[in-house]
Amino acid sequence: MHPEKTSHTFEPKVIAFVCTWCTYAGADLAGTSRMQYPSNVRVLKFPCTGRIDPVFILKAFQQGADGVLVSGCHPGDCHYIAGNFHARRRFAVFRKLLEFVGVDLNRLQFSWVSAAEGGKWVEVVTDLTERVRAMGPMTEFKELALEEQWSGVIDTPELKEAFSQI
């Protein structure tokens, strides 16, 4: 009945921040339609994409997510009229910031998935999961959390001279 499941050495954790009105319903449709999609994705339901603070994405990466998906209603379909328009601007800027700090943007995916697009949800999730799987685990933030203090060098000539004068 089900296709043979291939086993992988690395199963990525993908966090999906979705809006309750469109993408959540779309994911629900994919489920009730018995479409198969990777179980790597953890769905978090929000009232609107406008509620999804960029700091949530940051937190997800810090807590061990290998990929993050943000998904909501198509422009013009927002239950709250304009939430996704605001979100669109915010995330356009936030992804540029993450890129500048050195996060690989291939781990971060934004999408519009409506309540009728169960197929698109499957496609988006599968794409992201396979891409992140190929990239391997996200280690940057995890390594950061394990580091204790400034590891920089503090033996500049001035400091050495000051020390020798004590």
């Binding site: 601007r89 356009a92 936030f94 700090v101 050195g102 934004f110």
Partner: protein, 306 residues
């Protein structure tokens, strides 16, 4: 031979702001004037609030007048504007911050009496205050300043600022970083952020960080780790840059006060550059009710969204 910057107009500007402060305090236009006064170290300057016309002679403007005085009108000093109209001495960059605060309904224009300064630049934070102003000692923000001459002020001395064309350090550094791979950029910022001691001087000095309770101080839920460890530091600086995106006026006070010399303004400049490219927004002298991230158009770029 480093290019020296002509600051001969600064003494005339000092006299002009002294006379203007004396006049507006004397005739009761304002109840107080926020400006700069000579500090104890030779050549240094410090912020001062004067409320007597006789004290107007204490006001100065020199290349050591680095502070952004706009910060005295928000946050802890919020009650000051309630006591009547306040005069404030502003450089172009400070005026942009004030304009931003007016746009965010933190200040009212009619409560302020703006004394603008045709500023040719101020000293960098690491330079001794009595040093002569040259292309080398000039603050990095002044090298790419486009606001030497403030507009829309109540009073501006007639002197004209000099603005020599200099190499733009922030722009060059941003281009250098953009050309690196993500892993290299991560390594660069990791080292920079790891220096952070979480003193929050950058937050304290920023005119736009006026929230009564900062997201980063909350612990239910704790979004940003508060300890000065690399993980929390990185989160703090990303959140800080994000919260200032589309608001930052570019006064570079955060970078000036940073005791660990983290290039904070570099992040702010990068965000300003992106906002210019994405939404054609720049901090300026005109009060806008909505910032670039509190408004939208239906035609915004969504090429990054599937």
């Amino acid at each position: 031979m480093t290019q020296s910057i002509d600051t001969s107009s600064y003494s005339a500007i000092t006299e002009a702001i002294q006379a203007e402060a004396q006049r507006v305090l004397g005739d009761g236009t304002v109840t107080a004037v926020i400006g700069y006064a000579a500090a104890r170290r030779k050549g240094s300057a410090q912020p001062i609030v004067i409320s007597q016309a006789d004290d107007a002679a204490r006001l100065i403007f020199t290349p050591a007048c680095v502070n952004n005085l706009a910060v005295y009108l928000t946050k802890a000093k919020k009650e000051i504007p309630r006591n009547g109209r306040i005069g404030i001495v502003v450089k172009g960059c400070d005026l942009k911050a004030l304009v931003g605060l007016m746009g965010e309904s933190q200040l009212k224009r009619e409560n302020l009496y703006l004394i603008g300064i045709p500023c040719s630049g101020v000293l960098a934070s690491t330079i001794q205050p009595d040093t002569e102003l040259t292309a080398d000692t000039l603050a990095s923000k002044c090298r790419e300043c486009d606001a030497h001459q403030p507009t829309g002020c109540d009073f501006v001395p007639p002197q004209l600022p000099v603005a020599p064309e200099l190499e733009k350090k922030y722009q060059a550094e941003i281009s250098r970083l953009e050309a690196l791979t993500p892993a290299e950029r991560w390594a660069y910022w990791k080292e920079q952020f790891a220096k952070c001691i979480k003193c929050y001087a950058c937050r304290q000095v920023c005119p736009f960080c006026f929230c009564e309770q900062c997201l980063c101080d909350r612990n239910k839920p704790q979004m940003v780790e508060t300890t000065p460890r690399p993980a929390g530091n990185t989160a703090w600086h990303i959140v800080r840059a994000m919260h200032l995106a589309g608001r930052c006026a570019g006064c570079a006070e955060c970078e000036r006060v940073c005791p660990m010399d983290i290039p904070l303004n570099l992040l702010n400049r990068k965000m300003a550059k992106e906002l210019k490219e994405l939404f054609d927004y720049e901090a300026g002298f005109e009060v806008n009710d909505k910032g670039p991230l509190t408004m939208f158009t239906e035609k915004d770029d969504q090429s990054f969204i599937k």
